[in-house]
Symmetry: C2
Subunit: 161 residues, 2 copies
């Protein structure tokens, strides 16, 4: 078998790894009746409740209009709530509900267990290398898109004030 371009092409390698392991976990999610898209939304809101819709969209890597629709479904399932901002009445902050939290909390434990099973395929040093390299790449991305800091500052200000 000759070396193919694809097999050494970083974007393909990343897509393959992401796809393979995500699909593995999605099986577990579906078994509990949670779609991958809703999981992504919920886990992000669990981590950072009150996120504005557009920021949420950037975090979950979905288009804004798609997130609008997913959030509306989650609202109808009482798993999240929308609140329009007082400072800027165009903006909508999304909060995970008690029920939403009850749903995701055990899934996070499952996710951690699954992640451990994936990392177990690698040596301890490779485990660290992989995560740190991905963080390097991610940090540049976050810096480029200027989401996290701004959003979080507003969030903490509100909590403190």
């Amino acid at each position: 078998m000759p070396e193919k371009f694809i097999d050494n092409y970083l974007l393909f390698q990343l897509a393959l790894a992401s796809h393979t392991f995500s699909e593995e976990f999605y099986q577990q999610l579906r078994a509990k009746g949670v779609s991958p898209a809703k999981w992504r939304i919920l886990i992000n809101l669990f981590d950072c409740p009150g996120m504005y819709l557009t920021s949420l969209a950037k975090y979950v890597l979905y288009e804004q209009s798609r997130v609008t629709k997913l959030v509306d479904q989650l609202v109808s399932e009482k798993l999240v709530e929308k609140k329009t901002s007082h400072q800027d009445r165009r903006r909508v902050s999304i909060h995970i509900t008690e029920a939403g939290t009850k749903l995701v909390a055990p899934l996070i434990e499952q996710a951690k267990a699954h992640e451990a099973s994936v990392l177990a395929k690698l040596s301890p040093s490779d485990q660290n290398n992989l995560k740190s390299i991905l963080k390097t790449l991610a940090s540049r991305h976050i810096k480029d898109t200027q989401i996290a800091e701004l959003e979080f500052d507003e969030f903490t200000k509100k909590q403190q004030g």
Copy 2:
């Protein structure tokens, strides 16, 4: 900013990296009128012409019925051809055409340049670490799904015989 679960969650990190850099390149593709899905099909066929449809689907990480439809579109654009197998008349091998090759060849050069720009964000040792770690993860996947070897053996036998 406290550490969020998500930001240290491997599946999210992989999805973020894959998404970010793929989207970057997809901009270039779209500028040339090629959709990401068709690029994936074409580049795989370029690497391994004559692949059977189901194997192709596994390689490009798309569902079989989706690949059937994408391939049919590509056939109508004269970029690929379908040939039913003589050994097994259920199977269809897909071949990239001259026109298809002409279309992808320069895109591969663009992809290589883009990949270099992504890797440039990392130190040389991290570049090697990342690729080798991803290969480790991928090799297990390929082994699990038993595609490549089988498929290629048949292909080379045909060429030799």
